[in-house]
Symmetry: C2
Subunit: 438 residues, 2 copies
């Protein structure tokens, strides 16, 4: 029986899950693969903690280089995360002619192109299904199943922590703060949840998906980013009245010679399956010119779902090794050259908007607001002036037709100068509307 030798580096949550699946499913995996996955080295700085795993003598080590430099090892599984030592690990593995499996979206978003070029040069594979959407096979769907499609757009809920918080705020009518606390108590949020809440984690994932979908190199800093920390209960309630849910979305689409790529809270119509994705689940819709919309849904994080995707990648690479087919799917299409399609500045995007003003309750205010919007080519679809006063102000809620972001900003600046509203109107983009003309 052929053995595929694996060096696993990092025994955090996902790394531990990978070791568990490989150990506990030995028979199943061997029968499906026709070879045995052999973990010859497992490296972590902490080799004392009991993770419910047992290894043969000499397998467990604190020295990652024992794995990286072992000439017998075929595949390095990088499970430490981050962009520092993880990058060193991946580069060293490639340099040593080893294939790499990683779930590290930050690393790929930061220097994916460099790593991919290096791997192609060294004729090794990098597999990274687990970097986006946990167990949802989004990477494989883009690189393989939809290969005959031009991608017309991707919209996803790619962060389980944010989705848990927004679901909780909707269902239990709690504040952001209370929902975040519960997410932390239940282990759905990290001790420092900033990376999730700010949308940064989603932006990493969107960078990976954007570069794959359009064959372009993406500069992470060009992706517009807005987190969920300023989402109020009242806006969730208004959204519900209008038939929407508020979700943190990561979305891209080609627009002429540029690409839109942005992460922010958005209202999604209840008719859209994405609106019905609850708890800590993820989902992503990919629109192909031949397929129309394909949606994938599943656990985007967590030990076993993510480990499942990593094991899928390990088996994929093992099958390449067994059939001598390394590099079977080029990491960068187009003879290894990625394009440099610019990301459209947020000011140039066009979408529908929800705007909530706290307006003073006197005649003529509505006319002033709508006048300012109209002056900047923003066409109002519906206006709802609510009677419930908050601090002697009444909420005025407007839904607009498609408008340009820069026009919206200018109009809002103008309205603010009028001294008829509280300083900060709430602006939430509405995505996936049916009267979108593209």
């Amino acid at each position: 029986m052929k053995k595929i030798k694996i060096g696993l580096i990092g025994l955090g949550t996902v790394g531990t899950g990978v070791a568990k699946i490989i150990a506990e499913k030995k028979e199943l995996l061997t029968s499906r693969l026709g070879a045995c996955l052999d973990m010859v080295r497992v490296a972590d700085l902490d080799i004392v903690t009991d993770r419910g795993l047992s290894f043969q003598d000499g397998v467990l080590t604190t020295d990652a280089f024992l794995a990286l430099d072992d000439p017998d090892i075929d595949i390095i599984v990088e499970m430490i995360g981050g962009t520092g030592f993880a990058k060193e690990i991946v580069l060293r593995a490639i340099e040593n002619g080893k294939h790499v499996v990683t779930a590290n979206k930050a690393l790929l978003a930061d220097c994916g192109k460099e790593l991919f070029e290096k791997a192609m040069e060294k004729k090794v594979d990098i597999a990274f299904e687990a970097s986006v959407g946990g167990c949802m096979p989004i990477i494989k769907t883009l690189r393989e199943s939809m290969i005959g499609n031009e991608i017309k757009g991707i919209t996803g809920i790619l962060n389980g922590t944010c989705n848990y918080i927004l679901s909780k705020m909707y269902r239990d009518k709690t504040s952001f703060k209370d929902a975040l606390k519960e997410a932390m108590d239940k282990g759905f949020a990290e001790a420092d949840p900033t990376l999730d809440i700010s949308g940064e984690d989603s932006a990493h994932k969107l960078a990976v998906l954007t570069s794959l979908a359009y064959g372009t190199d993406v500069n992470l800093a060009d992706i517009y980013l807005e987190g969920i920390e300023n989402i109020h209960r009242i806006d969730i309630a208004f959204a519900e009245e209008f038939g929407y849910r508020i979700k943190l979305i990561a979305t891209n689409k080609p627009r002429g010679n540029a690409i839109e790529a942005r992460v922010h809270p958005a209202m999604i119509s209840n008719d859209n399956l994405l609106a019905n994705v609850e708890e800590n689940l993820n989902a992503v819709t990919v629109t192909g010119d031949s397929t129309g919309d394909i949606l994938l849904y599943g656990y985007g994080a967590g030990m076993m779902p993510t480990a499942s995707a990593v094991v899928g990648d390990i088996v994929d690479i093992a099958r390449n090794i067994m059939s001598g087919a390394a590099g079977r799917i080029p990491l960068i299409f187009n003879s290894g050259k990625s394009k440099n399609i610019p990301i459209m500045p947020i000011d140039d995007i066009q979408t529908h908007y929800y705007i909530r003003f706290s307006a003073i309750d006197q005649p003529g205010v509505l006319s002033k607001i709508s006048g300012a919007l109209g002056k900047h080519q923003i066409s109002i679809k519906t206006v709802h002036q609510k009677s419930r006063r908050i601090n002697n102000k009444v909420p005025v809620v407007m839904l607009t037709h498609r408008a340009r972001e820069s026009n919206m900003k200018t109009a809002l600046a103008l309205i603010k100068q009028m001294n008829i509203i509280d300083p900060d109107p709430v602006l939430i983009r509405i995505e996936g509307e049916m009267d979108d003309d593209e």
Copy 2:
């Protein structure tokens, strides 16, 4: 530039779509594959009809054997459907050492094992993503992405025609007959819709998924089958009252030493994304022991979505050819040996039930019905006796806890003998209930 030579047999809807994608996306496909897909032969009995395609002289032929026996051709794309000549084509292609792409679920359900064994013997690939779920990558997800999982169950809406009809009956409150007529008028149903309506098409697809998920050979006749032709508006309305939708589902799950595999209308809770799949769309939930539920959603039929999946398969095989990796993923796992796990007889399954009786409106009737059910270990969750009389009968609707199908049948036979109900109570299974104890 390397050329991958293709013989396309059958220019029906999907075959035409495949020819279109290959012709119109030549540049895109070449840049992604690093080789050129070259349709050297295209065979159909009708080469006169204008399909909006143009071929070089000599490509179009009425003689499939010019493709099958051309030693230059690498891949035969079988797009004629059915189990007669299609089988001959696939066997001849394999015999001649050619790889095969097919979307033919009937053929695979009927003699998949024979074809797979032959292909493994001849070291050629058969790709069949388009056979189930159109553009949804369900085959790849099962054979590749979820390779580290034991599959705990699959439930899908796999027939767009039935889903269109049931969606229409729900939304527009029309009868089955009217909804079917509209589906035919709009081209969502064939001139003879029997294969779809009866559930047979879904059973073919379920047979393919079941054999892949559990590595077993499935006898199509063992799959329990019930179509949507007897679904009444009133049951759709009651379902709505209880928070359910009625969908034609194809479902399987391992049960001890056997497998449940059945196709029938079922009530699905609105909380379940499957309940929200509308129009002619398809969706399927796969439960893995590591992943939990993964759901895929998309167009399960139609020219371009299905053709997209076929092109994905062609590229997959082309990549194998280019890297010398034919047979990279064994068609039958377990050293090419499929198991023979029996399909559980429908009498032995256990699920939740919705029962609607037309009962005579007199005291004691309810007690007699519930007594008969109780006697056969059927525990009632809720009873709704509706005041609206229909033909001097009142509808009595019951939802049960998990019960055994054979007990349900015996109890219903007993109740029928009591002469207190109209002859045919309506029985609809309820799937995916939360108090399922497995």
